[in-house]
Symmetry: C2
Subunit: 93 residues, 2 copies
């Protein structure tokens, strides 16, 4: 993970709580923004993570959301996969 | 479905293409904005729908996304369910 990706959390197959913990830790460490990124079937988990972080752990968080499509190599052909990026910003600066 | 909900597509268990068709039809019928709403595990399908609509069927569409949490009655307790609303706007007016 490069320095640039420090405040990015990529959502995969771990339990939701693992990613919630990762995001909350970044905010406790002084980050003002943390980006939660997910592809395909992990997108609903990413939304859960953002909602749990802002409702239970970190106060005054704004969320800005973008979606896009990436082309990945499937078994035979290129396949289109939807991606979602949830940028969470602490408004307490 | 009330008149107010005319331009809202609620995503459930039907195939993705059914909802894509519903959204595209609304735009063809002259709507300038269509809202795609989903809860829980349907959220990733809603993102697919918005991406397919804007990449393949309707040109010049902007998407604005909001997330929230709703409380639903589960079998025993109230459960929190994440919701996502993708508002698609035609910028050709």
């Amino acid at each position: 993970m490069s320095v640039k990706d420090e405040n990015v959390v990529f959502v995969g197959k771990k339990p939701t709580t693992a990613y919630v913990f990762a995001v909350v830790t970044q905010f406790s460490d002084g980050q003002n923004e943390v980006h939660i990124k997910a592809r395909g079937k992990s997108i609903n988990k990413a939304v859960d993570i953002a909602e749990i972080v802002r409702n239970r752990f970190v106060q005054n968080v704004d969320v800005s959301i973008g979606i896009s499509t990436e082309k990945l190599m499937g078994e035979r052909d290129e396949i289109n996969v939807s991606c979602e990026s949830l940028s969470t910003y602490s408004t307490l600066i």
